[in-house]
Symmetry: C2
Subunit: 297 residues, 2 copies
């Protein structure tokens, strides 16, 4: 029997805690936390995430706004947009859609945010602090994926863990959170990726596998060690045959093939996704707290 | 037969190239590169490195100065020292001794350097850019260790590599340089550390092992896979029985035990050390170039 490690109950618990922190925490002269989500027009995996952000923020008492970028935007213009949001005192937290087309310079734009406002922890200073074991914010998806595994009983210290995928926004932050000294996970981490010639060999001995490749069905009986838990962080849209013109989100795990083989699999949707959104709200509350809870300086 | 991968010839080649770049590169109104090394008084593994820095800088035509910190220094005072060096236009590159006692706040001080001057790539922004595959400078020891392996014929793409040790100044930068997308190494990297319960199992399958633990004899036949190459980046001082009161530098590898077992071992001293020093000079020349080669702004 392969367990299904759902994320919805955990997500709801995190959102309830966030709401309580907001309700009881607005100081005199202050205001509730505010989060701005910046994205391109049109459908993408991020649009789905965006709707969840809006709903979760509302539930947590966080002021949420989204900004649709002009499609003809340049990298310097994007950086200016982010700089202006960084300078705006009524905003505590900014998240920028990723991936963006390379010419838009996602990393440079995200790095224009001060540490406190870089709520998804993807700018240069945020990532550097993570390497040094002194993070302020870390990517919500990384913290969410690890939270979900812990919620279902995984204790990482001393464990062999594999991360499949090495983006600076997902795979590498997970590997760092799990392996960096002083952050408490203390796992022995292997990072595999598209240039790993033999994935099965690279994953041998891993007790937990984080799928962050965005490649449907990559994680199956021929790649995942028997008895390992699979935390599925991959997210891509594929055509949904049951709806004309429809799309559905899938992860990296071939859940059917892994049934009876893996210790557990987190579902997509309903696994890491909702925990990520709730973790983003938790980080927004933290940003608000770091920046003075909306009290004028 | 276990090969001995010496670093001295490579180091000399790098220093010759640095000297040529300096000799032919000083513009009208400019000056040669300048490097400042900041350290505590008293003997440490860094003092040995410091003497080598001074000698290598002289050979490369780089102006070298070292600053001895007051032993009673506080973290804010150290940060002020570094800030002042960052603001000084006659200096291109600053390296700060590490490890420092934790109360001195090494990471905070190093993060006060602008990207170009953080020649050892250990500040927050430098490390963050490394994670994102867009480094300016990276730790000289990390680049030096990888250079040395390549010099002796190691091609990393697709290889299994293990890094033993996870400091943010040595082990993690090596792991990132080897694994991050776009930097050309494309290895599948496992990071093991003091909380890894079974080092031998964690290193299974590794074709190259980077020893960055600072634990003499940790890498031996019982931990290193047969036929793997050992790049020894560990460096600690141990009593030298041949000299009364003497000290000698040793690495992580038990060279005697690995003889006939490992494919190769880099010696300590004479392996990664001289290549690191030469790489620091190379990075200093690069910093000088980025900052305008000493021409007034």
């Amino acid at each position: 029997m392969t367990a299904r490690w759902d994320g919805r109950a955990l997500s709801e618990g995190l959102l309830t805690a966030a709401r309580q922190a907001v309700e009881s925490g607005v100081p005199e002269g202050g205001r509730p936390p505010s989060l701005v989500s910046v994205h391109l027009p049109g459908p993408s995996p991020f649009s789905f995430y965006l709707r969840q952000q809006a709903r979760a923020a509302e539930g947590a008492g966080i002021t949420f706004r989204d900004i649709t970028l002009a499609p003809e935007l340049t990298a310097p213009a994007l950086r200016d947009v982010v700089r202006a949001l960084d300078a705006e005192p009524s905003i505590d937290a900014v998240i920028l859609e990723h991936p963006l087309p390379p010419q838009l310079g996602f990393f440079g734009a995200a790095s224009a945010l001060r540490l406190e406002k870089d709520v998804d922890g993807v700018g240069a200073a945020s990532l550097g602090r993570l390497v040094a074991g002194q993070p302020v914010h870390v990517p919500a998806v990384a913290r969410g994926a690890i939270k979900l595994a812990r919620h279902h009983g995984v204790a990482f210290p001393g464990r062999r863990v594999a991360v499949v995928g090495r983006s600076e926004t997902v795979g590498l932050p997970i590997a760092l959170l799990l392996g960096v000294r002083g952050l408490g996970a203390d796992a022995t981490v292997t990072v595999a990726h598209s240039r790993t010639p033999d994935l099965a060999t690279a994953l041998e001995g891993a007790e937990v596998v984080f799928g962050c490749a965005g490649k449907p069905k990559l994680l199956n009986r021929s790649t995942v060690p028997r008895g390992a838990a699979v935390v599925d962080v991959g997210l891509v849209s594929v055509p949904d045959d049951s709806v004309p013109g429809g799309q559905r989100a899938v992860g990296d795990a071939d859940g059917e093939d892994l049934e009876g083989w893996a210790r557990a699999v987190t579902p997509v949707p309903g696994g890491v996704g909702p925990v990520t959104v709730a973790t983003l709200m938790e980080s927004t509350v933290q940003a608000w707290d770091l920046l003075g809870r909306g009290k004028p300086e």
